[in-house]
């Protein structure tokens, strides 16, 4: 046994007290679960996608369960950037926990508009560019093309000094050129994976189960896919990676760290157990002491064949 291991990590300029945050859209704005979860025990809170204008989202059904996973097609329902700054931010600022704001956009200017507002208003400690939401443009998005990825990241880079995290899509033939494009365009970090595009059909009714037809697959079912994308991205870029995709417990999280992620995000697991993220942070600490590591940074990317 060694002394209490150091769980802190830096993601670009973002200092986190432990390597565990939550997946955007799976933890609301934090306030919803403050009864159950001590937000200060999180490495960071990543809030739901926030857009330039309010979005009402997709009609129901928006979520269906699948084998060891779920499909969602929320459609980025949110109150918009002004609503976030006025209604959500003040509550979060009562906590001493960094805030990562997830920002989708319809074009580079739209992204940059929200990024600038957030920066000017001190509404975020880091910004995650959601260039990979499969539910707004049927799964074909900025993060499926290196050029478009670079375009959005470069534009937002000019718009803020805050740490910029590019959230990548798994719905690509090869994630490596896209990861490289984001890095070269000035991203401070990458986060991956967003959901895997899929669908569900009701054989009895002979209809699609989701009003949106397609949805994003998340949960344990996609962990093997996510681990490989994270490993490949980590082999490709020098900037840190926030890994996610099916993390349900500390062992899952450690697998992502070993694959090359410097931090992890817990998504779908929050729906089953809102305490998952903090329990996972504890579990990582335990693993480190049991295996004699002084810092979580000592295991990042250390998986061997």
């Amino acid at each position: 046994m060694v002394s209490v291991p150091d769980l802190s990590v830096r993601i670009g300029g973002l200092q986190m007290r432990n390597p565990v945050t939550v997946g955007s859209g799976t933890f609301g704005f934090g306030s919803e679960v403050a009864d159950l979860v001590d937000l200060n025990a999180l490495g960071a809170v990543t809030v739901k996608a926030t857009t330039s204008q309010a979005r009402i989202g997709n009609p129901p059904a928006r979520i269906v369960e699948t084998a060891s996973g779920m499909l969602n097609a929320i459609g980025l329902q949110n109150g918009g950037i002004d609503h976030y700054l006025a209604e959500k931010l003040p509550f979060l600022r009562r906590y001493d926990c960094p805030i990562i704001v997830n920002v989708p956009g319809e074009n580079p200017e739209d992204f940059a508009f929200v990024v600038e507002r957030l920066t000017a208003a001190g509404g975020a400690d880091a910004i995650e560019l959601n260039i990979s939401c499969p539910n707004v443009s049927h799964g074909l998005d900025y993060a499926t093309d290196p050029r478009l990825t670079a375009e959005v990241v470069a534009r937002c880079r000019r718009a803020t000094p805050l740490p910029l995290i590019a959230k990548l899509s798994p719905n690509v033939t090869d994630i490596r050129p896209i990861a490289r494009a984001a890095e070269e365009a000035g991203a401070d970090a990458l986060s991956l994976i967003n959901t895997v595009v899929g669908t569900s059909i009701d054989a009895k009714k002979r209809t699609f189960r989701l009003a949106n037809i397609t949805g994003g697959l998340s949960g344990p079912a996609i962990k093997p896919i996510a681990l490989l994308h994270v490993y490949r991205a980590a082999q490709t870029v020098r900037i840190p990676i926030i890994g996610m995709g099916g993390i349900m417990n500390a062992t899952d999280a450690i697998e992502f760290l070993l694959a090359g992620a410097s931090a992890v995000a817990v998504g779908t697991a929050n729906f089953v157990n809102p305490l998952a993220a903090i329990e996972i942070a504890d579990g990582i600490g335990q693993y480190l002491s049991e295996n004699g590591f002084a810092s979580v940074r000592d295991i990042v990317g250390t998986v061997s064949a």
Partner: protein
Amino acid sequence: MIRKLLAPVVRNTPLSAPGHFVLELEAAEMAAEARPGQFIAVTDRTNTQLLRRPFSIYTADPASGVCSILFSVYGATTGAMSRMVPGEKMDIIGPLGGRVFAADGRPGAHHVMVGGGYGVPPLVFLSRRIKADHPEAKITFINGARTKAFLVGTDGLDDEGIPVLSCTDDGTCGIHGRVTVALEPILSTGEPVQVYTCGPTPMMRAVAERSIAAGVPCQVSMETFMPCGIGICMGCAVATTDGRFARGCTDGPVFPAHEVRW
């Protein structure tokens, strides 16, 4: 306050209706705080299913610290629940639900419950609460089912001063027909009626439309699929008349009938 707990099973009682059970849990704080219309989110810890399943609170007794739910077996979660025995612990989160049933405060109000299937439990909880708070309150409970065998949850209410009007589609018990057959005459009595309804969507819609037409206030408890139950997934969207989507779990599950876009 919302809590996540491993609640010990006190009793798991099969009902006469095939595949129906009343599961009693030891959960003191919840028994004290639960309000009619609230629910709990259950996970069968075998992990055959990823997401929790919501179940309305059927009884909540602050004295004994026992809460119960009434459920019927559909799939894996309810299947596992049906096999639970006293002493086993059930992994639950609750009490959940932001906006719940609000008892009509008007003097001489006639509280009319219209329930069907698993919409009955929360209404039983509500009517007993109203009766406890206002022993003189006038309450009528309309319970609808396909056939006699599936009329569950309302046993004993009559003796507690809550008259039950049963309706069956096949006429095997009580009124032969839909719940609206029993509801219509009450809506036109001119009394200060308040309708509270929970059950299959087509039933609730019919009840809501009849009530609105009669100018009678109506509260509906929307039972959409609820992946998280705590307001963080946005998966439980309920279409509202303002053209928006509300969260069934935290903005509901209870909505004024006129706010719901069917």
